[in-house]
Amino acid sequence: MEIQQGLIGKGREAIGIIADNDTFKENVIEDYSFDPEIGPGAVIGTVNINGEAATIIANDAMAINPKFPVVYFGIIGMEEANKMAMAVYYTIEADKEKPIEEKRPLILVVDTPGNGPGKVEEIIGMNKATGGYQLALAEARKKGHTVIAIVIGRAISGAFLCHGLQADNILSLSKEFQTMIHVMPLTSISRITKLDIERLEELSKVNPVFASGAEFFEKLGGVEEVVKKIEDMPETIIKHINEVREYKKAGQAEKTGPWGRGLLGDQRGGRVTRMSVIEKMNEEYEDVAEKYLKA
C-alpha cells in the first residue's frame, strides 16, 4: 500500500478542493448567519458545487473550543453539534418551497476524532446535541435534500454517528490516505472486552464487522464508494448527488440513507443476518397482526 499525502486535519483545505473555486461563504446560509465564536471546531457555510448552492459542514481539526476543555482538534462537542444541526435546519427552511431537484445538497466533510467525554457534557446532556444533529439530517433527507458525506480523515464512533452516518450516501478516501473509520482502536477494544489483541488483529484482517477502515465499511454497506484519488473527490460527489436526487424524485428514497446501506450490506455480503431477522419479524407479525389491528 502506497501511503499518500492525506487530508487529515485539513478540513478547510478539503472544502476548497470539493467546492467550486472561491465560493465558500463561511457561517452563512441564505439569510442566516452564525456567530464565529460558537463551536469553532464546526465549520459551516455555503458553497457552490457544480454551479449550484450547497450547504457544507466540516470539522476544523486545528480549532480549540476555549469554553469546553475536552473539545479540541476536531472533537464534536455540544456547541459544535448544535451549530451543525442549526445549519441543517436553516438549509431546510431556505429551500422549503422548492421542488426536489432544486433543494440544495448538504455536504458533510468528515474528519473528527470523537465526541467530548467531559463532566459538563454529561451534566448538560451531550447526547441531545448529537441526537439533535442526527434528527436534523434525517429530516433534511426525508424532505428531499441530498446529503452526501465524504470521509477525509477520521470518522470515529459517536462523532461519525452524528456527522456522517445519517447521509444518503457516504464516500471515503481510501486507506492510502490514512482515513480511519471505526468505533474504537483495537487496543481499546482489547482492553475493554479482555479479548486478546493478537487474535483481534488477526481476525480484523478478514472480518469486516469490527475491523477499522473504509474498505471494511464498504463491504458492510457502511460506505457506498471508496475514492482513490483526492482530485476525484469533486466529480464523485457530484455523481452521487445526481444519483441520489434521481432516487428521491422517483420515490425510491429507501435506496439511500441508513436503510439503503442496510440493503447494501446484505448485497455485498457483509451484513447478511440483518435482513433475515427483519424478514422473520415481518413473517411472525403477519400471523398475529389481525389481533392487534382490530383490537
Binding site: M78, G125, G131, S157, L161, G262, T273
Partner: protein, 426 residues
C-alpha cells in the same frame, strides 16, 4: 476459536415428557445460562445440547445434566442450553427452576404471572419481564424470540457466549386498543450492547410499527386516534457492542433514521430504569424519542464514568463516587434538567401506568414532550449550553441551585414523592 458444543443423550428409567411444547428460561449473563426445553420424539431419550465458551469441563457438564434428567425422569425432551461460565450449582439451579416454571403452567394463570411481574422492581426485572409487563396483561407476542434461535453470527469466533435473543426482546402488545411495539434491552447480556442481530430487531420493530400505522390509517380513517400505534423502548445498554462494533454502529444510525420516520405518525417512548442505564450511541437515540420516563436508579448519558475520570483526572471526576455519578446522569438530575419528562417509582407497574397515562393524551400533546428534533428545540438546547458556560458547574448541584433549588444537597435523599413536590425544574 469458536464455541464448545456438547451433546448428550440420556435415558432415564421411567421417562416422561414435559407438559408444554416449548419453554424458554433464563438470561445468558456472566456466570449464568439460558435454556429451552422442547417436546421432541426421541424414543424416550432426553437430548441435551450445550453451547459454552468454557473448555475442559465436559465431564462435569455430563454429570450435571445426567443427574438432572434422571432425578426428574425426563424423556422425549430436547434441552438446549446457551452457557456463559455458569458453575455446576447455577446450572442445576436454572434447570430446576425452568422445570418448576413449566410444571406451574398447569396451575398458575397467565394473569398471576403478569400480576407478579407488575410488583417487581423495574431494576431487577429481566428484559423479557419488562417487555411483557409494560403492555396490557396477556397481550404481548414476542417476535424473533428465542424460539427462532437467531443468535449473533460474530460472537462465536471470538469465543464469546451467545444468546437466543441476542440480548434484545422485541414484540408487540396492546395498551387499550393501541398496538404497542416493544423493544427491551437486556443489560445482563454483554451489557445490553448493540450488535448486528440486536440492532436488526430494533429496526424491525420500528418498521412494523410504521406499517401498522399505515394499515390503521387506511382501515379506520375516522377513528384512528384511539388505535394509533406506539413504540416503547426499555433501554438498558452501553451502546455499540465492541465485538461487532461496525455493525453495531451502523444499526444505531438505522434506528435514528426510523425514529425520524415516526415523527408526526406514532409516539416513541424511552423508558430508562435498569442497572446499566442508557449510554453510548443509544444515549443519542433515547434523546430523540418523544417521551422519556425514568426512575431514580436510571441513568442516561453518553460517556461512562471511568472514561470521564480517565480524560479529566480523578480530582475533576471520581468514578468511584457513586453519588456523583447519579447527580450527573441519574433520573432525578435528568428530571430537573428536563432531559426526562417523568420520574416514577421503582415498580414495573409504575412505568406501565405512566406510559398508559401519557398515551391517553392526543398525539400533538405527546409531541410537545420532545427535547430535540426541530430548530426551535435546538436553539433552546444551544441556550442551555451557553448557560452552562456561564454557570460553569463543577457539579450538577450547581445547576440545580442556579435553577432555583436552594436545598440542592438534600434532593438526592428525598423519596420520589417528596422530590417531585419539592423540586424546581429548568
Amino acid at each position: 476459536m469458536a464455541l464448545n458444543e456438547l451433546k448428550f443423550v440420556i435415558k432415564a428409567d421411567n421417562p416422561k415428557t414435559i407438559n408444554t411444547e416449548y419453554y424458554h428460561f433464563g438470561v445468558v449473563g456472566s456466570g449464568d445460562m439460558e435454556v429451552i426445553m422442547e417436546k421432541k420424539e426421541l424414543d424416550g431419550n432426553a437430548e441435551v445440547k450445550i453451547v459454552t465458551p468454557v473448555r475442559g469441563f465436559d465431564k462435569i457438564w455430563e454429570l450435571v445434566v445426567t443427574k438432572f434428567v434422571k432425578e426428574n425422569q425426563l424423556g422425549d425432551v430436547f434441552i438446549d442450553i446457551n452457557d456463559n461460565n455458569a458453575t455446576p450449582v447455577i446450572v442445576h439451579m436454572r434447570l430446576r427452576q425452568a422445570l418448576s416454571e413449566i410444571n406451574k403452567l398447569a396451575t398458575v394463570s397467565q394473569k398471576d404471572i403478569w400480576d407478579n411481574m407488575q410488583e417487581k422492581d423495574f431494576v431487577e426485572a429481566t428484559a423479557r419481564e419488562r417487555a411483557i409487563g409494560l403492555v396490557d396483561e396477556g397481550t404481548f407476542t414476542e417476535l424473533a424470540g428465542p424460539k427462532d434461535r437467531i443468535s449473533s453470527p460474530h460472537l462465536p469466533v471470538l469465543g464469546e457466549a451467545i444468546g437466543y435473543d441476542d440480548g434484545c426482546v422485541t414484540g408487540v402488545g396492546l395498551i387499550g386498543k393501541k398496538p404497542v411495539f416493544v423493544i427491551s434491552q437486556e443489560g445482563r447480556f454483554i451489557g445490553g450492547a448493540v450488535g448486528e442481530v440486536h440492532g436488526a430487531k430494533m429496526v424491525g420493530a420500528f418498521k412494523l410499527a410504521l406499517k401498522a400505522y399505515e394499515d390503521i390509517m387506511n382501515e379506520y380513517p375516522d377513528s384512528y386516534e384511539e388505535r394509533r400505534p406506539a413504540v416503547v423502548i426499555s433501554f438498558e445498554t452501553g451502546g455499540v457492542r465492541l465485538h461487532e462494533s461496525n455493525a453495531g454502529l451502523l444499526a444505531h444510525a438505522e434506528v435514528m433514521d426510523q425514529i425520524q420516520d415516526c415523527r408526526g405518525k406514532i409516539p416513541v417512548f424511552g423508558v430508562i430504569g435498569s442497572k446499566v442505564g442508557c449510554f453510548g450511541g443509544m444515549g443519542f437515540v433515547a434523546a430523540a424519542t418523544d417521551v422519556i420516563i425514568m426512575n431514580e436508579q436510571g441513568r442516561l448519558g453518553l460517556t461512562g464514568p471511568e472514561v470521564i475520570e480517565q480524560e479529566m483526572g480523578k480530582d475533576e471526576f471520581d468514578a468511584s463516587d457513586k453519588g456523583l455519578i447519579y447527580r450527573t446522569t441519574g433520573g432525578k438530575h435528568k428530571y430537573i434538567m428536563k432531559d426526562c419528562n417523568f420520574l416514577v417509582e421503582d415498580k414495573v407497574e409504575d412505568f406501565r401506568e405512566k406510559v398508559q397515562e401519557v398515551l391517553k393524551q392526543p398525539f400533538e400533546e405527546i409531541e410537545k414532550y420532545r427535547r430535540i428534533g426541530s430548530l426551535k428545540l435546538i436553539e433552546e438546547q444551544a441556550e442551555l449550553v451557553e448557560l452552562a458556560v456561564d454557570v460553569n458547574p463543577g457539579d450538577a448541584r450547581d445547576m440545580w441551585k442556579h435553577i432555583g433549588n436552594e436545598t440542592a444537597d438534600e434532593l438526592p435523599e428525598l423519596t420520589v414523592e417528596e422530590f417531585l413536590k419539592a423540586v424546581k425544574i429548568r
